[in-house]
Amino acid sequence: MLLIPCPYCGDRPEIEFRGGGEAHIARPSDPQTIDDQAWAEFLFYRTNPKGLMAERWNHAHGCQRWFNALRDTVSDRILESYKMGEKPIGGGRA
């Protein structure tokens, strides 16, 4: 079970969280103007990286905030987490 650093509550066990998949996929500001393929890529296409990944988490059974985390999908090590709207510092946690 992962130990996930919630930016508001600190390290918490994974079962308190709901995963939200790949982060930083912005919803098109005016969806009606983009073509079907572009919309499909927003809806369905994912990088699914083997390695470092920015992903969304919701602390569903805690503060209920959504946030992002940087995790290595091979080691499952979480380098850092950051609030919505923030950018990762890329350093990793001590």
């Binding site: 508001y8 509550c9 066990p13 308190e16 059974h61 503060c63 209920q64």
Partner: protein, 191 residues
């Protein structure tokens, strides 16, 4: 007035009888409860509302007759005397005026259960995955978390220790049953 004259009686989700064992597991009396939501900036600006402190650290609870528990950056659980529900609502509305906030009464949504005495943390840890040691979860600490398959709000109220468990009404029999089952491990244990 009519509302009080004809008012039918309440039926709470749990019988009020406390368990004999150690730790003691006791359903708590009715309370007035509100979910208060507002932007953090306004919280620090106001400091408190209607006797409920707002400038608490996230995951901490105040004490006293009107207690607020900060569950997140913009979420407070307010707990007061059951008889004061309407008064509290009015005072808070008045205090905020036009300033953006959301106050929703949830007095009946939640049920409170006290877990008190030796092994209280061990019993909770049968289903709660958090570190409940005083260093990590001191008196005054409070958070939403899990107990087995139910979501709860867990508040450490004193060093007895006494923990207050808040859960949704329909989960109360499960949560209460879970705590009683876990407490069986300590039947006849030294306190």
């Amino acid at each position: 007035m009519l509302e009080t004259v004809n008012r039918v009686t309440r039926a709470t989700a749990l019988a009020a009888t406390a368990s004999a064992g150690t730790p003691e597991i006791a359903p708590l009396p009715d309370a007035a409860r509100f979910a208060l939501r507002l932007r953090p900036a306004l919280a620090s600006e106001m400091g408190a509302v209607a006797g409920f402190p707002l400038d608490l650290a996230i995951n901490s609870a105040s004490s006293g007759p009107r207690r607020s528990i900060r569950l997140g950056p913009d979420e407070w659980l307010l707990i007061g005397d059951a008889a004061e529900a309407e008064a509290i609502a009015a005072e808070i509305a008045q205090a905020f005026g036009e300033r953006f906030h959301a106050l929703v009464e949830i007095s009946h949504r939640n049920v409170g259960i006290a877990v008190r005495g030796a092994h209280a943390a061990d019993v909770l840890n049968a289903g709660c995955p958090l570190d409940l040691a005083a260093a990590a979860f001191p008196t005054g600490f409070a958070t939403r978390t899990l107990l087995g398959k139910a979501e709860i709000v867990l508040i450490r109220e004193d060093d007895a220790p006494t923990y207050r468990v808040e859960c949704w009404r329909s989960f109360a029999p499960y949560v209460h049953g879970f705590l009683l089952e876990a407490a069986r491990d300590f039947d006849g244990a030294q306190t």
